[in-house]
Symmetry: C2
Subunit: 617 residues, 2 copies
């Protein structure tokens, strides 16, 4: 088939959910809840499944967009808002976090304090709802709806009929409210909070909403579809903890054992399950078992967990996954082209420059592996470069470990360089806080690994007294391409070369230009860049005095492949391609020497490139 | 400081544990347990901490090697052995997995069935111990000790004094045994199982042992220090589940909420905590709180969890971490050196060859991101190469998703190639099972990405009718280095070349040999390898008829850097370096053309290498 023919394939994950839907649709066990009369109107055939990854890919099948009221699934979300309003310790002083092994409507207050055992039973949820801040009932309701909207990624509203039905029949919950008032868990009139509780239970959602809400918790509070933050990341673990220990009523232990995902169910038939860092699941089917959990919902979650091996506690060791690549400055050098003498020095002493390319999420555990690898190598490290280009996130405990490594290496005179950290604000903030006055001196930050390598190479060359001064102009006889030339040959060449000057920053060659000249660099340095955009451009090479540039296009007659810019005041001697070619007949001896030196330069660069490739590949 | 000076730095993680030890050693709250008289002899000052990563790095401070009896911490491990002996459903029929919110010595049997609520309370643990297989009491005891030895990574033994003390005072546990017999949870004399229970509680361990045992559970059952399997991986999630919901007695909910790691404590003062996939912690300090948990142990675990951000439910999204790199065959080609015409074709049509380099642990979630990326690109994919070189593990659900991708792409005529899968036995087994007769035809497995790329390139070139037949011999005039040569120049060269033949597999050039010749390949192909070892060697290049090889060393006079082997029957024309040099004076026109063509070849290879580098770096 041709590459241009449009093909669209359904995802195998969607196919899989479809097959689950088909096989579990035939389950008709269970009963639609009737204790709130309005819920009894649900169609027992409704059945929707939605799986959403923590990266925001949504897979949904069946009646995934059928609205229903959220009921008890609201509890963990309101609990999260209470944590944001009051902090963990105050909330824990009002509602404990112990599973009861009891049913959802059990009162389960702690003897003595009257503290509800956990926020997933009604008593705990009413105490939680009472904590939601707001000057008026309307404000409190609006805040709840806004919060649900952030999680679901759309505006949500109350189902007024269900709310009225709940309120009309909610005597037991009013009794709980007064009991909580009796124990001073609620400190004012309980009735408005009980009403707000009825309202939160009556928010209208779909299985798709539940899937996205679950994925938001899986993504540490950021809705992966909209990118908006629904809850501060630090509270997500608490919300998931109460779901994990108490979310499925008196089925919580077995649920965690078999299915292994923090979850919450509601009597309208929804189940929401979260695999932190990975995905969320929303299922809706109103047929309930005796414990009040959706029969098909449990079957679906159980099947997905088993088939896809999703149990939270079934984990492979991540191993050394934070270290993408390790190499030395002798294997991979900076893109500054070194003289043959410098290159020889670096091929030995460059071994003391160690580069660790890091990747993924840096946490205590992944960073421990980095620390261990650094300390294992410490004898051979003179300079340590940590390259964060592919690091997605870093947390404070990872910063602390890296800071301690820097501190220890600084004690023994080994600098640590940081490349590509500008995106990762926490690193800079953490190191500034810790280093104080010593920050500028000790926190060596570089735009990229290439510049960090160059800095280390310069240090190594300085110390070995092998560095050619960057500013020095070279004489004609020093051009690498004139190696082995006689005085007469040098003189002949001098007549062909045309001297030019460029200011710092001036573009000497543009990408796409036809190649018509070869440049001999007499003074200053020039750099080759991929693109003219100073933000995104990447340095491909830097040449210094004595070197030739622009010769490749002269050989293969391809248009210029990159742009070349003067780094400083630059003086060049320019040879036109016509003159270069004419040498075939006018002075073949010179031409042979030029070509030989030119081939030698290409050979060296090819060997450098091949050595880098053997490291990277 | 010099690179050769020996430096040894203590790990910051060890420093950190030391500081924790120091600050918590001053806590003297709590009491040493006395209900087993022998336990009362413990020194209240004993305090050891050990943290072990799932990769097997052990960090230990204080009295980490002080022996004590394991007590209730034995329960999850014996539960694991019962699962191995009988499977999950039989074990669940004897002992449930619901938290009770009750104290450790509560009897908590399920009404009706008499099933203990969970295996972490004494009743559940005795029922579990009764499930341990073995013909005699001695065999059963030996099996338990062997199991603990695998987890701890050393031989462990009973503390006989504690065992006698337990047995002499264990009347309540005998009562529980008889009660379990009454409900037919135990089906034979309960007393031997109660004795075995006393023995399991009396196994002598250290905080270091607990750390390694915890890390073994964190590493899915494989002791990361010894590499030996202590429990089948599939049962680890169940062991951790009961620890998570019931491991800390009536403190389990709050523990999970605050500390977020499945854990188990014992009345001798040990606590063991597991962060799956990451690390294990063992703490020992015999001062207990009212619930029977070690006071310092809880403080240490709480501090480590907070400082190091270890809560199980606090996770960043792994994102697209399974895709290390994505590129096309137009950006990175195989190491078969193509003719300029072939290279031009591939620079266009190579775009249809898509390579995904994968990494890390392939699970449902990480593989979903791969599947999504493939399907998003499906229109532009002609060939898909999945490179598993850096994949650590793969599970069955990942295999299933990859199989479904292969199946869908096969339907629309797009082959999927697998590179570097030989280590990952599950892939091959899974695909064989699924593909049956079609396995050979559809499962394209390649040793490495390079060979997979070459195969795709050949297909692309065949289809575009742009492939030079591999077997064809070329005439003199076809040598790339003789481009633009006149008849007379060809004749002059022919007099300098010496024809040689090599059998398939013959080594033509050895690494380290001095360079004395340039080779023109008339027939067959040769490959350049890093090493002579056929198992580990990597192909650096393959040249075919018409091409030159061995020319780089001729230019820079370096010894041969790699070995060159005949892939097939090979015919070469060989030019000695003496003759090559003599051309400077005898036929400078030819020398210039040779050098020009040679530089052109080097230029092309340098551009190819630079393009690859821009992808890899």
């Amino acid at each position: 088939m041709s590459a241009t023919e449009k093909v669209s394939l359904t995802s195998p994950i969607l196919d899989y959910l479809q097959s689950l839907h088909q096989s579990f649709a035939s389950i008709t066990d269970g009963k639609v809840a009737t204790y709130i009369p309005e819920l009894g109107k649900a169609n027992p055939d409704w059945f929707g499944i939605c799986l959403v990854t923590a990266t925001g890919n949504v897979y949904e099948v069946g009646d995934s967009q059928q609205p229903f009221t959220i009921q008890s699934i609201s509890k963990p979300f309101v609990y999260g808002l209470a944590l944001e309003d009051h902090g963990r310790s105050h909330v824990l002083s009002k509602v404990s976090a112990e599973p009861t092994g009891d049913a959802f409507n059990s009162i389960s207050l702690e003897p003595g304090t009257g503290r509800p055992r956990n926020p997933m039973i009604n008593a705990g949820a009413i105490a939680t709802t009472a904590l939601i801040e707001g000057k008026s009932a309307a404000t409190r309701q609006r805040r709840l709806l806004e919060m649900f909207g952030l999680y679901a990624g759309r505006e949500v509203a109350l189902d007024e009929a269900v709310y009225r039905s709940e309120s009309e029949t909610g005597h037991r919950n009013r009794a709980i409210g007064h009991m909580l008032r009796n124990f001073d868990i609620l400190t004012s009139d309980p009735i408005p909070s009980v009403e707000l509780y009825f309202q939160q239970c009556s928010v209208s959602v779909t299985a798709r909403d539940l899937g996205i809400m679950a994925a938001t918790l899986a993504n540490r509070g950021i809705n992966p579809v909209t990118g908006k933050q629904a809850i501060r990341g630090e509270y997500v673990e608490s919300v998931l903890s109460v779901m994990g220990s108490c979310g499925m009523y008196d089925y919580a232990g077995e649920w965690m054992y078999k299915i292994g995902m923090p979850a919450k169910s509601g009597v309208s038939g929804g189940i929401l399950a979260v695999l932190p860092g990975q995905l969320g699941i929303g299922v809706f089917s109103p047929l309930l078992d005796a414990r009040g959990n959706s029969v098909r919902g449990i079957s679906v979650c159980d099947a997905i967990s088993r088939h896809c091996d999703l149990h939270l506690l079934n984990r492979q060791s991540a191993g050394r996954s934070a270290i993408r690549l390790k190499f030395t400055g002798a294997e991979v050098g900076s893109n500054r082209v070194r003289t043959p003498a410098e290159a020889r020095t670096l091929s030995q002493l460059g071994r003391g420059i160690k580069v660790f390319q890091l990747q993924g999420n840096l946490t205590f555990t992944t960073t421990e592996a980095i620390v261990r690898a650094v300390l294992d190598d410490v004898d051979t490290i003179e300079f340590l470069i940590l390259d964060f280009k592919r690091v997605q996130t870093i947390n404070e405990s990872a910063c602390r470990l890296l800071y301690l490594v820097l501190d220890k290496l600084a004690e023994v005179g080994k600098p640590v360089l940081f490349a590509h950290t500008s995106r990762l604000l926490l690193i800079r903030r953490y190191f500034k806080l810790k280093l104080g006055d010593r920050f500028e001196q000790r926190f060596h930050a570089f735009e990229d690994n290439d510049l960090a390598l160059e800095w280390c190479e310069d240090q190594v060359l300085e110390k070995a007294q092998a560095r050619r001064p960057a500013s020095a102009a070279v004489s004609f006889a020093d051009y690498e391409l004139f190696e082995n030339f006689t005085e007469a040959e040098l003189k002949a060449m001098s007549e062909l070369l045309q001297r030019r000057s460029h200011r710092a920053g001036e573009v000497i060659i543009n990408a796409g230009d036809p190649a018509s000249e070869i440049y001999f660099l007499a003074q200053g340095s020039v750099s080759v860049f991929t693109s003219p955009d100073i933000e995104t451009r990447k340095r491909l090479a830097t040449f210094s005095a004595g070197m030739v540039f622009g010769e490749m296009a002269a050989i293969d007659r391809a248009p210029r492949s990159a742009m070349i810019v003067a780094d400083s005041e630059v003086v060049c001697d320019v040879l036109s391609l016509e003159d270069f070619e004419r040498l075939d007949s006018t002075n073949p001896g010179i031409k042979i020497k030029l070509l030989q030196n030119l081939s030698l330069g290409l050979c060296r660069r090819l060997r450098v490139a091949n050595r880098k490739l053997s490291v990277y590949d």
